[in-house]
């Protein structure tokens, strides 16, 4: 597989064309707006947490295929999970992205997220893949604070 094909896996292009959980919904405890200042990608993201679970993640994102697909895969992975488990998945994805292509992805944890393994070899695109994940972590922390 060429590096380009490794970057643009079919799974990524599928999520890009048909993003899951897109759009902004109620209810939510926190809404954040994150931007990638170097390229201008933006995401507005809401999190609804109840009983220690991520009940909903909704978002409105503008950006490249990698950033859009990443938001879609992230929402798939964390919605319905206990917050602790969702945070662990976030850590796992972060490790994969920061691994410069040397980290073997764990399909049991990351599911469709393993398709982003190829992105880690393109330093300029790692930030695209991480934009919505970092927004989610921020919003989730704010949701928990709002409830405590």
């Amino acid at each position: 597989m060429s590096e380009l094909d490794a970057l643009y896996q079919e799974i990524i292009l599928d999520h890009y064309k048909n993003p899951h959980h897109a759009g902004l919904r109620d209810p939510f405890e926190a809404e954040v707006h994150h931007v990638n200042p170097t390229c201008g990608d933006e995401v507005t993201l809401r999190v609804h947490v109840a009983d220690g679970h991520v009940e909903d993640v909704s978002y409105d994102a503008v950006g490249c295929s990698i950033s859009q697909a990443s938001a879609s895969v992230m929402a798939d992975l964390v919605i319905g999970k206990p917050v602790d488990e969702a945070m662990a998945i976030h850590e796992n994805f972060l490790t994969l992205m920061q691994g410069k292509g040397q980290v073997e992805p764990d399909e049991d944890v990351l599911e469709d997220g393993i398709a982003f393994a190829g992105v880690a070899k393109f330093p300029a695109r790692v930030k695209c893949a991480l934009l919505s994940w970092i927004a989610w972590k921020d919003a989730t922390a704010q949701s928990l604070e709002a409830q405590s």
Partner: protein
Amino acid sequence: MTTLSSTGHPALAGLLPELEVVRKDFPILERTLANGQALVYLDSANTSQKPQVVIDAMVDHLEHHNANIARAMHQLGAESTEAFEGARDKVAAFLGAPSRDEVIFTKNATEALNLVASTLAWKGPRQVGEGDEIVITEMEHHSNIVPWQLLTERTGATLRWFGLTEGGQLDLSDVDTLITERTKVVSFTWVSNMLGTINPVAAITRRAHEVGAIVVVDASQAAPQLPIDLAAMAPEERPDVVVFTGHKVVGPTGIGVLWGRAGLLAELPPFLGGGEMIETVRMERSTYAPIPHKFEAGTPPIVEAVGLGAAVDYLRHLGLDAVRDHEHAITAYALDGLATVPGLRVLGPLDATERGGAISFEVDGVHPHDIAQVLDSRGVAVRAGHHCAKPAHARFGVQSTTRMSSYLYTTPAEIDALVEALEYTRSYFKLD
């Protein structure tokens, strides 16, 4: 397009004579990328590549003449000072500056613009205050927006700006309501780094001077590709300040130029304080050196100045008229080529005579980052994003664009490679 060049490509009228020889001056153009791909460098509005003479001038200075300037009482110090001041003479000749002392070396164009915007906030005959207005335009690079926002925030002055027409020109219809007796500064780009638009410097400057405003022109994109002759301009049409950066005129990074009218530079207070910019220092207060050194505190970028001197000499040797004609020919050829790509929309003037060599565009269904990524896999280097011109993008309702930017070494075959790579990008993302 009737004759064939040595490369087998139809020759375009206006290309630099002996383009293949000129390209050999730029060693980086010979290199290959991953998988043996040839480099097609179309990101010169971002930074230009460097000819061997510039590289050699810098290496020679470091190997044989290195010393601090204007303060070393030895032979190397004299040689280094002579090389640094010689570079100032070369830049003055490049701009047609009325006086070589009006050429100030800065770190880059951004620092040059900040120098003006900062010193105008400080006590002095030109100090900006409440009720005063600063006029810029919606097509500015962030470096010609943010310093003026800072100035107005610091002083209580008001920031106003020219909007843009659908075609990417400045909307000058409200010039008389924008430029008034309250206007203290009008600052605008000569050539847009995003839209490519060439702005009417003489007309805007004349209007601004009628109300007594200072005119600042960002020539970062103009200096590489348009002949500039400040001394030949009518005084009422000559800007008060013109800035550009070294690395876009085949020179090194780390050095920029502020040309300023001597009378204005005398009125502005010093920017940075330190060595070199003083006349005498006592513990109570200091007095300052005359221009240009008044604005050059500390050890300057000496080797970079030497490199810039070699760079502008190289451009003058080629002839800025010839460089402009080359850019014009390549830009016209590129606009024709891009027009053949389905779903592609160019932002900015579509007539090559009205624009410079930076062409920003969108392709339906593919994000600019993804375009740039696929292009890079084919060896074609372009820029994707907002190009430090977010307001101009917002004006056209787009978040980001892909930008190709040619220069004096760009060939028609490289434009063909771009167009082919764009076709490939569309098929890669299954848009056909």
